[in-house]
Every structure is written in C-alpha cells, then in structure tokens.
C-alpha cells in the first residue's frame, strides 16, 4: 500500500509541477489543483498508514492516527477556497489584460520604453 500511495503522490506532484510551469493561466490553475491533491494525500500518509483500524483509542486492537485526518480536512477546505479564488482571478485577468498568459502578455515588455514616455 505504501508503494501505491507514494506512486500516486509522486505522479500527482510531477504532473502538477509540470502544469504550474506552463505559460497560460488555465493549466497553471489545474497544476495547482493537482499539487494540492498530492499534498493532501501526503499529509494523510504522514501519520503512517494503518489498514482497517478506527481513529479512536481503545476501540480496536490498534488505531489510526486521527490528527493527520483533521489536518487534511483543514487543508482541503483551505485548498478549495484558494482554488476558487484563483479561478475567479484568472477569469478577471483574461478580461482585464485581454489574454490568458500568466504575465499578462505573450512577449516580455520593454521597460525602457515605458520610462521614456
């Protein structure tokens, strides 16, 4: 199970990182979402993986650490809110700047020209 989880986390973060480094806002937002998934899984695994045990002390032969579950819950809620915000911001940027590049333009701007104006 450890290998499967580790593989999932690795794949998700690799894809997430690749997408974050793209130039358009939509892939970047998707990349952030994937990275958040990876992080949530990682946090979940940080309490060590136990199969089929309740997160309550004394109710079974062993127990799952309940704290990472609480942490993941918080992280999911926060990640959800942040993703919603970044989606709205990306749409706003598309409207304000006229394109969906993360820098607001496809070509780098010539700063010296702006100063001379």
């Amino acid at each position: 199970m450890e290998i499967a989880i580790a593989f999932c986390i690795g794949l998700l973060s690799a894809c997430g990182l690749f997408l974050i480094l793209r130039g358009r806002t939509y892939p970047v937002v998707l990349g952030l979402t994937l990275l958040t998934y990876a992080v949530n899984l990682f946090l979940f695994a940080s309490g060590q993986l136990v199969k089929g045990q309740p997160p309550i002390l004394g109710s079974g032969s062993s127990y799952t650490d309940p704290l990472p579950q609480a942490l993941v819950l918080t992280a999911i809620v926060i990640g959800f809110a942040m993703t919603a915000f970044v989606v709205i911001l990306a749409i706003r940027a598309r409207a304000d700047l006229g394109n969906d590049h993360v820098d607001g333009k496809s070509k780098p701007k010539d700063i010296t020209k702006e100063v001379e104006q």
Binding site: I20, T25, V28, L32, L35, T36, A38, V39, N40, F42, L43, A45, S46, G47, Q48, L67, P68, L71, T74, A75, I78, G79, A81, M82, F85, V86, L89, A90, R92, A93, D96, L97, V102, D103, G104, I111, V115
Partner: protein, 492 residues
C-alpha cells in the same frame, strides 16, 4: 479575565470585520470608518495590556491540553510584533479615509481580516495553526491587492497568488514531514522532542524544516524568492502597500520562531543546522537589493527594493545568531516597517500631484504641495538611508555592532554601508527629479493633500522619532527578550 487576553487580538478584528460587512453598513462609509478605526484602537489597547504582562501567557483554545489542542503563546516577542502591527495598522487605515477605501468594495472588512491573520500568525504556538493563519492573512491580502482594480493590479495579483499557493503546498509538505518524524506540531513540544531525535528521523525532520524555511523565505522575499515583491508592492494601493510592509516581517518572525526557537542551540543533532544557509542568502539578498535600489525607476519600486534591503539586514541579524543581534534586529524590524510604510504613502501622494508622470523619476509638472511633501520625503529618506539622528541609524548601527568575528565583519560592514550609500544616491536622485527638476507646466491646483493622508504620514514619522528618543528604553526589554530566546528556546 487576564488569561483570555491572548485570543482577543484575533477575535476583535474578526468581529470588527463582520460588523463592517453587515448589509446596513454597506453605503454608510463614515460609520464603517468609525467602526474600523475603533476596532483598531481597541486592538492596540488590548495589545498594550498584553505587552504589559511580564510573563508569558499560554492560552489553550477550547481548554484542550497542550500537545493536542491549539495553543496561543503570548510571550514578549509575540506581544512586541503585535504592537508593531497594531501601530502600523492605524496610519494605514487612516490614509485610506482620503477616498481609497471607496474605490472598491469591502476594503474595511478585508483590512481587518488581514490584521486578524497577522495577529494570529504572531500569537500561535502551533505549526499547523501558523499555516492556517498564514492562509487567513494571504486570502485577505489577495483581495486587498486587487482593491480598486486595474491592469497592473490584476497582473501582479496573478503572480502573487500563484506563488503563494505553491508556497502553501510546500508548507503542508513540510508540516507532514515534521509530523511524520516527530509526532507533534506544537512548537514547545517539538522544541523538547527535537533534541532526542536521531538518525533517519532526524534527516526527515531536517527536510521538513527546510521546506518550512523555503516558505518563510518566500514570504520574507529573500533571494531567490523575491521577484514577486517589487511588482506586487508597486501595484497595490497605498494603504495596502503600507500594511504589506509588515508581511515580509511575518516570514522573518516565523524564521526566528522555528529556526532559533525550535532548531536553536539545544536541538541536539539538528542544532542550528540552518546557519550555513542563512548567511549566504542574506549576502545575496543584500547585493540584489543594492542593485535594485540603484535601478529603481519609480518611487514605489524604490520603496519595494528598500523593503528587500531591510529583509536582508534582518537576515543578517538572524544569521549572526547572538542575543545582541536579535535585539538589534527586532529594533530595526519596527523601524523599517514604519519607515517603509511611510515611503509608500508619500509615493502615492506625490503621484497624485504629477499627472501622467505618476511616481516615476522623470521631469513633469511641479508638485503642488512641494514643501510639505518634500519635507516628509526628506525625513523618511534620512530614516531609510540610516543617517543620524533617526531610528534607521540606530538599528543599522546596532546590527553591525553585533558582529563578533572578523569574517562576519568582513561581509557585514561593507554590505550594510554600501547599501546605505546606494539608498542615499537613489533618494538624492529621486528627490531632485521629483521636487526640483520640473517642466514649465503649471502645478495641478486641484490636487491637494488630504488631512487623513498627512496625519497618517505624520503618525509614522512620530513613531520613528519615539523610537529614537526612547531607544534605550526600547532596547532594554528587547535585550531581555533576545537573551531569553537564545538561552531556553522559545515557548518552552
């Protein structure tokens, strides 16, 4: 009653924010302003009361016991940072009364939520809780950054938001590693456990802690994670940029808490493992800040570069890793926050009076209120350059004095002094172009400095003067605080 004091700096701005969001306050701007300024005044009163307590107050939220529940630790360091934030928030809020708060919706609630997040980040005694409060202050800052709208703000916001979201993910990975290897996220508990962790677990823990350092360095805008800062701060509206002056310091505070408090001298295998990293980072950040200061082409960008410079100076204070340096750093932190904020406010007032030239260093029509603006500009410039008699001089001098070994001096002295020289050159250039070298066009008679704007800047300058006059009185508790931090670690 006293034991509930630490939760109030978090609850109070939250309540204020909720009140200012209520539907029947939406179009009553005067009433909203009164509510928010009163909230900030109550906030500062509570913080003063908190700072007055000599002992550390530990508050267990919901009365859950220490390593399981969330604890708030109101020690001297936290109260000091709260005090600096509270004192900065009032002038920043006051400045917005000139009409900036009406340029977009929900300025007041967002501002108060941001204060809540910053206060929470300073008070928390739990690493996961620190993450939560970071997110609170970040989401408020995302929305504040695009307050009043415009192309420049949206563009800066995209970079700022995406970078910080990646930062948040790294933060969580770091927390996961720390929890996996030590079994706790409570700072005091971790400070005890870290001394006995050995072998593989210690390496995992170190990896986690380094991830945290990455995130804090991003927040603090240390090299090479500083690229977002000049754009973001130059784009934000003036009161927001002024408030953001404390944001980089939140990152530095977190570095102090975690890497001096937890991974300090008594951390066993991992004692001071960050030390070899901080020094080069500080040197490089300072170098880039010097180049940036000289290359800045507008007043706001100059202010942003100076913020990076102050971050570098504070990183030096952290890297020196002795009580004297810490005390000096804390003093310099307050000074650079107030003076940096004042420069952002002045830049905004100047740009209002120069038409299309904005705050860029190009000749244009004369500034209408040249005497007043030139005067405050001059005072703030002296403070930021670090010339006597203002607080910048005392702060820089104290940090330099704290260098003990020759190799430290060899790096620190030239860099700090060259930074001061570069700032002096940049300010001379800026001041002479903006206030003296103008075209023959007439000054804009309609552009008048409003009283809330001037009062805000005057307040910040007064704070700076207070810091000079009572420098001895301020240094005394700071030194005690620094001694405590270095002897026992924090929160323990």
């Amino acid at each position: 009653m006293m034991q509930h004091l630490p939760i109030l700096p978090i609850l109070l701005p939250m309540i204020g924010a909720i009140i200012t969001m209520l539907p029947w306050l939406v179009n009553k701007i005067q009433l909203t302003r009164w509510v928010s300024i009163l909230t900030l005044l109550c906030n500062i009163a509570i913080i003063t009361l908190l700072a007055w307590q000599p002992d550390t107050i530990i508050y267990q939220v919901g009365n859950w016991d220490a390593p399981f529940g969330i604890s708030l630790v109101a020690d001297n360091l936290a109260s000091y940072m709260l005090l600096v934030t509270g004192l900065l928030a009032i002038p920043a809020m006051l400045y917005s009364f000139s009409g900036i708060d009406r340029q977009g919706s929900f300025f007041h609630p967002l501002f108060l939520f941001q204060i809540m997040g910053i206060n929470g980040a300073f008070l928390t005694g739990d690493l996961f809780n620190l993450f939560v409060f970071f997110e609170v202050l970040l989401i408020a800052s995302y929305a504040l950054l695009i307050h009043a709208g415009g192309k420049a703000k949206t563009q800066a916001a995209i970079h700022y938001v995406v970078l910080n979201l990646v930062g948040s993910s790294c933060f969580l990975i770091g927390l996961g590693l720390i929890y996996a290897s030590s079994g706790t996220l409570n700072m005091a508990d971790l400070a005890i456990k870290v001394s006995v962790i050995k072998g593989d677990q210690a390496i995992l823990l170190q990896a986690g802690a380094l991830m945290l350092f990455l995130v804090f360095a991003l927040k603090a805008a240390a090299l090479p994670l500083h690229f977002w800062l000049p754009n973001t701060y130059a784009a934000a509206s003036a009161p927001v940029a002024a408030l953001f002056a404390i944001m980089t310091k939140v990152g530095l505070y977190a570095i102090w808490r975690v890497f001096v408090g937890i991974f300090g001298d008594q951390a066993g295998e991992l004692a001071n493992f960050i030390a070899p990293w901080v020094w080069p980072v500080a040197v490089l950040t300072m170098l880039v800040a010097i180049i940036g200061t000289l290359a800045a082409y507008s007043l706001r960008r100059l202010a942003g570069q100076l913020i990076i410079g102050s971050v570098a100076a504070l990183l030096f204070a952290i890297a020196l890793n002795n009580p004297q340096a810490t005390a000096a750093g804390l003093y310099y932190l307050a000074h650079s926050t107030f003076a940096g904020a004042a420069l952002f406010l002045i830049a905004d007032m100047v740009s209002q009076q120069r038409g299309k030239a904005d705050d860029r260093f190009v000749p244009s029509r004369p500034v209408h209120n040249a005497r007043i603006l030139g005067g405050v500009f001059f005072v703030v410039a002296i403070a930021l350059i670090g010339m006597p008699p203002l607080a910048g001089f005392i702060g820089k001098f104290a940090i330099m004095q704290a260098a003990t070994t020759t190799s430290q001096m060899l790096w620190l002295y030239p860099l700090m002094l060259i930074a001061s020289l570069a700032t002096l050159i940049a300010f001379s250039r800026a001041g002479s172009v903006i206030f003296w070298k103008h075209s023959n066009a007439k000054a804009d008679e309609d552009a008048q400095v409003a009283w809330p704007q001037l009062t805000a800047v005057a307040l910040l300058i007064t704070l700076n003067l207070f810091m000079v006059i009572w420098a001895g009185t301020i240094f005394e508790p700071l030194s005690q605080m620094a001694n405590q931090m270095h002897q026992v670690g924090m929160g323990g």
